[in-house]
Each structure stands twice: as C-alpha cells, then as structure tokens.
C-alpha cells in the first residue's frame, strides 16, 4: 500500500495530526466555497504543492496514488457530457460542460486536500485524532483491530497465493477460481481462530473490554496547529473572496 509507506516515511510524520487535519479540512471547505474554475485550480495547486514541496512526498508516489481516482473522475465527467438530444439520439452535449468542469476541479481540490493528509499521516495517528474527537469506542476498536489485522491477513493471503502457485493452483482460469475459493474459505475460518487468539492475548494483558492505547505526544502541537490554522484560513479567505 503506497499511501501507507509514504505516510511513515513523510517529513511531516512528526507534525501533530490535529494541525494536518485542520489544514485538510480547510482545503475541503474552501473547495466547497469557491466558484470560479481559476480559483479552484489555484487551490488544488496550492494543496498539491504543500504535499509535494512541504512534506516532500515523492512526485511518482503522488501520481501513482492519484491515478485510480482520476480515472474514475474522468469516466464520471464524460458520462455527464453525453445525453439524448431533442431528436432522441445520444450525442455529445455541452450543456453540462460548466458543471462537469467545476465538479472535476472541485473534486481535484478535495482529493489534493485528502492526499496531503493521508500521505503524511499514518493511519494510527488519524485514529488517535478520531479518539480525541470522541468517535464511538466500538468504531475505534474495530478500526484499530482492522488496521493491524489487515497486514497480518494480507501477508497470510500473499503467502497462500504463493504456496498455491507453487502447486500450479493458478495455471488456468478454472484452477484460479478454485484456488481462490479454497484460500478465501480457509482465511474466513482463520478469522474466528485469530479473533480467539487475540482475545486470549488481550486477557493475558489484563484486558477490561476496551482496547486502550496511549497516544503519541506532540510537543509542538500548539505551534503547529496555529500555523495550520493560518494557512487554512488563507485558503478559506481566497475561496470566500471568490464566492462573495
């Protein structure tokens, strides 16, 4: 997972998640406020540059991560631009072009805001932020377990596929389906076994029914949050100026 790797390696890894989230939120709100394509494009560029230059996210990573959503965006916008004409025949219609253009730019801006956050902040840091925002405990527990087990299960999955390949499990279409079904079934059974093992391990460490962890400390959080608020305010001001 490219985002994951980039986040752990990011230069802004040590910046308080609150600050980074605040900046991303400001970016999203600004994208919703702004009207003109030029301002939206400027906002998107500012947010992307913050990640690329400020946090030094490698350009190659950035593009690789952005590519799939951009493909979806293109497809959706093209869909908006076809439609039945008065004669009932489908053809290109420019009627929705302004909407499609603005939607695409707004989408890009919000994507850039989000990428700026997730490419610099590992998920556990975001979960801590959600904890401080009083997310229901059950959801937090599910997220913590899901995140950890994701890697465990993925490794198990990859090893399973490798072991099946070694026994020619993927030599053809039918074989591949059969192998996948077997593997997924076996892994589904593992879900219960792994849950039982985790339960036991948790009890051995005095588990009281909730998964509690100590959040990391960010000594410079206050200063960083002020900076983020200022930068975010600037984005909002530009967007607001555009609207009114």
């Amino acid at each position: 997972m490219l985002i994951e790797t980039a986040a752990y390696a990011s230069r802004w890894r040590g910046v308080a998640p609150t600050a980074k989230a605040l900046f991303a939120l400001a970016g999203i709100l600004a994208a919703w406020l702004a009207q003109s394509p030029a301002v939206l494009a400027a906002l998107a560029a500012a947010l992307a540059l913050a990640a690329l230059l400020g946090a030094r996210v490698p350009l190659r990573t950035y593009l690789a991560v952005a590519m799939p959503p951009l493909g979806f965006l293109l497809l959706s916008c093209l869909t908006m631009l076809v439609g039945p004409g008065p004669d009932g025949v489908w053809h290109w219609s420019a009627a929705l072009l302004p909407t499609a253009g603005r939607t695409a730019l707004r989408s890009l801006t919000i994507l850039a805001a989000l990428l700026g956050l997730v490419l610099t902040t590992p998920l556990p840091d975001l979960l801590n932020l959600l904890r401080r925002l009083r997310t229901p405990e059950l959801l937090l527990d599910l997220m913590v377990l899901c995140y950890r087990m994701l890697f465990v299960l993925r490794q198990a999955w990859d090893e399973g596929v490798t072991a099946q390949s070694a026994r020619l499990g993927y030599r053809g279409w039918r074989h591949a389906w059969r192998s996948l079904g077997l593997l997924a079934g076996q892994m589904a059974v593992q879900v219960w076994q792994r849950a039982a093992a985790l339960q036991m391990a948790a009890e051995a460490r005095g588990y009281q029914g909730t998964l509690r962890f100590l959040p990391a400390a960010y000594p410079q959080a206050r200063r960083q949050t002020v900076w983020a608020a200022l930068a975010g305010g600037l984005l909002l001001a530009v967007a607001a100026g555009d609207r009114w």
Binding site: Y8, L198, A204, G206, L214
Partner: protein
C-alpha cells in the same frame, strides 16, 4: 525457597473432551530461571495458560504465594498484573499497529496514569533494545523484533513472573543468545522467568530449574544439573540427556577430563578441553 506460583494436582480437560493436563504438580521458586521442557503436544502451553489464569483447572488448584488462588475478577486482575505471559506467535498477540501504542496496552489496563505508562513503555522498550523503534509500525518489523515487542508489552506491566511460550522458536543462534541475555538480566533483577522449550540442551544451559512434561503429565522437577542426570526420566519424556553432560561423562570416564560437575554447555566443555595441554603424536609429524 518459597514458590511464587504452584500447580497442585491439576487436571485440565478441554471443551472438546481431550485431556490437556493430568495430575500435574509444579512449583516455581521465586527469582529463579525455570525451563519447562517437553515434546510438542506435551502440555507446555496448557501449563503456561493455567499459571496466568487464562485456563482454570478442571481439578486440582493453582496457588499464588502459597494461597489457593481465587478466580474472582479482582483475583484475575492481580494475577495477570503479577504474572505476564508472552505467546509464541507475535501475529496473534499484537493488536496495535504502532510499537509504543501496543506496549502501552497492558499498563493502561492496570489503571496507571499516562505519565507512569509513558515511563514504563520507554523502560520496557529500552529493556528489549527497541527504544529507537517506538513510533514504527509493527508490520514493518522483522520477526525477531516483533517478538521483542511482545516481551516489552508484558514487561511494561512489571510482572514478578514472566512466562514465555517457546520464545526461541524461529530465532537463529545470535538472536537466541541475545534473548537469553535479556532474560538473564530480568532474572538478575529478581523476576521469576519460566520458558517452555523442546530443546534439552538449551534448557540445561540456561535454566536453574527444569520441569519436564510428557503427555500432559508433569513428570519431574528439579535443579537443572540434578535433573539432567536423570537419564531415565528424560528418556521417558522422549528427551536425550544434554549433550554437554553425556560428552563430559564419557571424557571423564576415559580420563581426559577430571571428574567434577559437568559444564552446562558444549561451549564450556570445549573451553575445558582447550585448557588441556596439546599432545604431540606421531600422526601429526606427517602433516
């Protein structure tokens, strides 16, 4: 020597009807290094899970400080505070993706305040040599490092007794030596350490006391040197006598080494051999 934990005539039958333990008695002397020796399936893990209160005896009892243990909520919390258990497979006991977060899980469950928890996490990571890895993701660590995170997670609870299930499995020789040294440091600080193993040479080399298991029975317990000499008992449990002991006995019989207590490892035996004068004999002249 007072026993901090004791199993007295414990039977355990699993829900599926299979017998895990049969009439098992075993006492853990305080502050000593214990080796729990047995073949795969002998019941070592079942014993460890009894000592930490994860399993309850079907018959017989668990004694803590010589008192019959009370399986109430408060009793279990205290037992798990005092007796830490490290499982064999790291992937099945680490819940949190970040090292220091996971290590903080146990101390937080003890109800300690944040500052104390932070101190303990730092100390535990120091103890296992992972101080610089506090903020790393667990899934980016090597197998040996994950294993040490598991140990840190238990150490941070500052247990009096540390139980480890097959801690050497999957580690190569240098990593094993490192882990043994860590456990020695803990024992020197007064922590009672019990580890399970199927390697009689390692048990003999490392442990003060050895407890032998076979087919769910606790066959024998005693100081390592004494127990290792009980060839019959070991054979009955499917174990060879330790190699260092056997070699030493043969060499003493043949007058190569002087009689006396056997060295605990083949390394020490080699040292003893190397201390002997080198003989010149005809065969060497030709070389």
């Amino acid at each position: 020597m007072s026993a901090v934990l004791e199993l007295r005539a414990v039977d355990h039958v699993y829900p599926d009807g299979s017998a895990g333990l049969r009439d098992c008695s075993m006492a853990l002397g305080r502050g000593r290094r214990h080796g729990l020796l047995g073949a795969n399936g002998a019941g070592k893990t079942t014993v460890l899970q009894h000592l930490n209160g994860l399993l309850r005896p079907t018959a017989g009892q668990l004694l803590l400080d010589g008192q019959a243990f009370d399986y109430g909520r408060a009793g279990l919390v205290e037992l798990r505070r005092r007796v830490g258990l490290v499982f064999q497979n790291p992937e099945r006991q680490l819940f949190s993706a970040q090292v220091e977060e996971d290590v903080s899980f146990g101390p937080l469950n003890l109800g300690l305040d944040d500052a104390t928890v932070r101190e303990r996490v730092a100390a535990a990571l120091d103890a296992v040599g992972l101080r610089g890895h506090a903020r790393r993701a667990v899934h980016h660590l090597s197998f040996g490092q994950k294993k040490r995170v598991c140990i840190a997670g238990v150490l941070a609870m500052e247990p009096e007794v540390l139980l480890l299930d097959e801690p050497m499995a999957g580690l190569d020789a240098p990593m094993q030596a490192e882990l043994a040294a860590l456990l020695d440091r803990l024992a020197a600080r007064g922590v009672t350490v019990l580890l399970s193993t199927h390697d009689v040479d390692f048990a003999f080399r490392w442990a003060d006391d050895i407890h032998v298991m076979a087919a769910g029975r606790c066959v024998a317990s005693g100081p390592a040197a004494q127990l290792a000499a009980q060839t019959e008992v070991l054979r009955a449990a499917g174990q060879h006598p330790p190699l260092a002991l056997t070699l030493h006995a043969e060499l003493v019989k043949r007058g190569v080494l002087p009689p006396g207590p056997a060295p605990r490892s083949t390394d020490l035996l080699l040292e003893a051999l190397r201390a002997l004068p080198v003989l010149e004999y005809p065969g060497e002249i030709n070389v």
